[in-house]
């Protein structure tokens, strides 16, 4: 049985007949002697089982059919705009591709008209690939017509670049399969592409590549990506030259014989490729040494195996950082790391739990006023906006007084509770010991258990405070010019604020 609705409906139509058959069998069995013998029961069971199985299959297939229908309709709606762009394109050079898309649309419509959404979905996915390819080729044609100066001014980033620099993306990158990784075949093809492709050689090498990493991508997909890669190279060289970013180095294969085509290199290429909308193999060639992170690169001969496993989160962070740096330097792109405040929310939960329940209400009036204004201050630096922002912050600081008081009381309790509990334990045990040593020991143990339980929550905070006091004598005394020098990298206005407050201590 397929998920075709006709077949499902035919199956549904059989259920009443099967039920009739079952009823007839049951009646016949009882009619003879009023007793259903083993043979009759077996026959009844067989029909019942057939009815159950058929119903289960119908339910399952209907669910699949419904899911396919929803997915098809969603994708088809999404494609509408792009299909309009294809239709509007009058360039004769793309006539053949337009006709192929038109045929693909007819095939989709044919399947949808008979409600065969499994086929319709699969054909729409193929149609999407054709449309994407078409639009990419058209866009490549347009980009090829731009001057270098024009190319430097435009964005060549993929529309989904913001999704690349997220925690979720990095998590997925760790285990993502990269076809051909570490194989001599892929290494050879990458070296051929690095030398440059044209004419018959271009088709031949890209066919070889498709055999390793496809399909998909098809040779045509890879060809469009290669064309975009050449445009990206042009932009890279122009922006890099203007910003004096230095030359793009090839991989030194004497030092790194296994690097080309390795997982390390392809992971870097994957990040860059997803950010720029090209296949990872071409993206690696935009910056061939990308993904070589760590001092291991310099330590050949000194350290046995200098390359960290590429799946290690530290190396992964380095790879993504490397890609972000390249995008910023050579394409003026990259949103930086898209970390949200919620990332550390769990660690602040304990702090929030100390606050009175009303605290969120207290900040509520300020939330809308303050969020987003910071952005405009950075962008516009407008004194009026800054003054309004200051007003909001000052009012908020004052409104939170009761929240701070509530938290402060609880912290006092936490810090003092341990000492109080220990003292109580000691006093009680001493008193009992003088009367009856055995009972005292038992009581002391009971008390100790209670204190341990209370301490489990409070000990960490109390210990941390003592740890802070103790650390003073253990730390080195340093000499620095300005407090802000110690901060490392900081944004606009941070150094000024730190030094202004530091003046009250060090001047």
């Amino acid at each position: 049985m397929t998920s075709n609705i006709e077949t499902i409906r035919n199956a549904e139509a059989q259920i009443p007949q099967l039920r009739d058959q079952l009823r007839a069998l049951q009646a016949e069995a009882r009619a003879n002697d009023g007793v259903v013998d083993d043979e009759e029961q077996a026959e009844i069971n067989q029909v019942e089982s057939l009815i159950n199985t058929t119903q289960q299959l119908i339910t399952e297939k209907l669910r699949t059919w419904g899911a396919n229908k929803t997915a098809y309709e969603k994708l088809r709606t999404k494609l509408a705009t792009d299909l309009g762009k294809v239709e509007a394109n009058e360039d004769a050079a793309f006539g053949q591709d337009k006709r192929a898309i038109s045929v693909a649309v007819s095939k989709v419509d044919q399947a949808a008209s008979v409600e065969d959404y499994a086929t319709a979905l699969s054909r729409t996915q193929e149609l999407e690939r054709l449309v994407d390819l078409f639009l990419k080729q058209v866009e490549n044609e347009r980009l090829n017509g731009l001057t270098t100066e024009e190319l430097m001014e435009i964005s060549l980033a993929d529309e989904n670049i913001d999704e690349v620099f997220t925690e979720e993306y990095m998590e997925a990158l760790m285990t993502i399969p990269l076809k051909g990784e570490g194989t001599p075949e892929l290494r050879d093809v990458i070296k051929k592409i690095e030398k440059g492709l044209s004419g018959a050689n271009r088709t031949e090498v890209l066919t070889e590549l498709a055999e390793i990493v496809g399909e998909p991508p098809t040779v045509a997909d890879l060809d469009a990506d290669y064309a975009r890669f050449l445009i990206l190279c042009k932009q890279r060289d122009a922006i890099g030259k203007e910003g004096e970013k230095g030359d793009i180095d090839p991989v030194d294969e004497k030092l790194h014989p296994d690097f080309v085509g390795s997982r390390e290199q392809l992971m870097f290429g994957k990040v860059l490729g997803d950010a720029l909308g090209i296949h990872e193999v071409f993206a690696t060639l935009l910056s061939p040494t990308g993904g070589l992170v760590g001092p291991g690169n310099m330590l050949i001969g000194s350290v046995a195996s200098p390359h960290l496993s590429p799946d290690n989160p530290v190396a992964l962070h380095g790879t993504v950082h490397d890609a972000a740096g390249y995008l910023d330097s050579f394409h003026d792109e990259g949103p930086g790391y898209n970390y949200r405040g919620s990332e550390i929310e769990a660690m602040v939960t304990s702090a929030i739990e100390l606050l009175p329940q009303s605290w969120e209400n207290e900040i509520l009036p300020f939330t809308g006023q303050l969020s987003g204004i910071g952005y405009w201050i950075v962008e516009a630096g407008d004194e009026y906006i800054e003054a309004r922002f200051d007003e909001g912050l000052v009012a908020l600081e004052q409104a939170l007084e009761s929240a701070r008081d509530g938290a402060s009381d609880q912290i006092d309790e936490i810090v003092s509770a341990i000492e109080d509990a220990k003292q109580e334990l000691s006093d009680k045990a001493d008193a009992l010991r003088s009367d009856m040593e055995d009972a005292a020991a038992e009581a002391a143990q009971d008390l100790q258990d209670l204190v341990d339980e209370a301490q489990a929550e409070m000990l960490e905070a109390s210990d941390a405070l003592e740890d802070g006091f103790e650390k003073v004598s253990e730390t080195v005394v340093e000499t620095i010019e300005n407090v802000s020098d110690a901060v490392g990298s900081f944004g606009e206005g941070v150094g000024e604020k730190l030094d202004a407050i530091a003046n009250f201590i060090w001047n």
Binding site: V314, V348, L370, L400, I411, E460, K471, E474, L498
Partner: protein, 268 residues
């Protein structure tokens, strides 16, 4: 709360794999070789790798290749790309002692440097514990204080008071503080905290992204010989008001926690 010590070359070696140069709260210099005896960078990194291997923090297996232990991975990622850093700097003569706390994902990590150059890394349970460690490090008064003892002024006026107090013009400093709204008793206490603090320092909350401190909320903290702590801060920009407020271990910890929790709500 667990603590490990690491040689700077171990950290430098590990940081290089995450393409990290600066550590917020420390910069880059503390992790680089400082003397000729430390050798060139190659030797420094090789030494770091050897130390890590010896300590079982860098492990190579035939199936998984070369890997840091989970403990080192979480420490390096937290130091290399924190969302929040608390920078506690305690005055010591003209110099300072430093404790930093770095937060990222599920890790809260404290870091100090010993006189022999070794770094001490302490893992705290949560922000409350880490803040208490910073506040303790800065010598804040343990005794609870009554809320609301504060003067709302501005940078210029408080700078002038500070100048008077530190140049020995005690009476003028106290008079200026009274004029700004302090009681005579509080004014005398603030003057002593500014002129001759038993302990003094700064606690800066640094909100970070991409390993850069984007926003800072610094507090200067001064405690007198009578164990009275005063903090000084700007609730908004430097052009806005500046506040001096009576504080303590619990009051300052609460202020930091509320500040961070509020920032999370507003920036969400």
């Amino acid at each position: 709360m667990t603590t490990i010590t690491m040689h700077p070359s171990e950290l430098a070696y590990a940081f290089s794999y995450s393409e990290t140069v600066d550590v917020v709260g420390w910069g880059r210099d503390p992790f680089l070789p400082t003397t000729e005896a430390d050798g060139d960078p190659k030797t420094w990194y090789a030494d770091g790798a050897a130390r890590l291997s010896e300590a079982g923090r860098l492990v190579e297996t035939p199936d998984k290749g070369l890997n840091f232990t989970d403990e080192v991975v979480s420490a390096v990622l937290t130091l290399a790309d924190p969302a929040l850093v608390l920078l506690a700097q305690r005055k010591e003569g003209d110099g300072l002692r430093r404790l930093t706390v770095h937060m990222a994902k599920d890790t809260v990590l404290g870091m100090t440097r010993h006189p022999d150059g070794m770094f001490e890394l302490t893992r705290y349970a949560d922000l409350t514990a880490a803040t208490l460690a910073c506040v303790g490090f800065l010598g804040a008064a343990r005794s609870p204080v009554q809320a609301g003892t504060r003067i709302d002024s501005n940078q210029e006026a408080l700078n002038a008071v500070h100048q008077l107090a530190t140049k020995g013009q005690t009476d003028q400093a106290v008079a200026s503080l009274v004029k700004l709204g302090a009681s005579a008793q509080d004014a005398a206490s603030i003057q002593r905290a500014m002129a001759e603090p038993a302990t003094a320092g700064m606690l800066s909350i640094l909100y970070c992204s991409d390993n850069v401190a984007r926003t800072a909320r610094p507090y200067s903290i001064m405690t007198t010989a009578d164990d009275e702590t005063w903090i000084l801060f700007s609730p908004a920009s430097l052009e806005g008001p500046m506040v001096i407020e009576r504080s303590s271990v619990s009051a300052l910890t609460a202020r930091v926690l509320v500040e961070v929790a509020t920032w999370l709500k507003i920036s969400a």
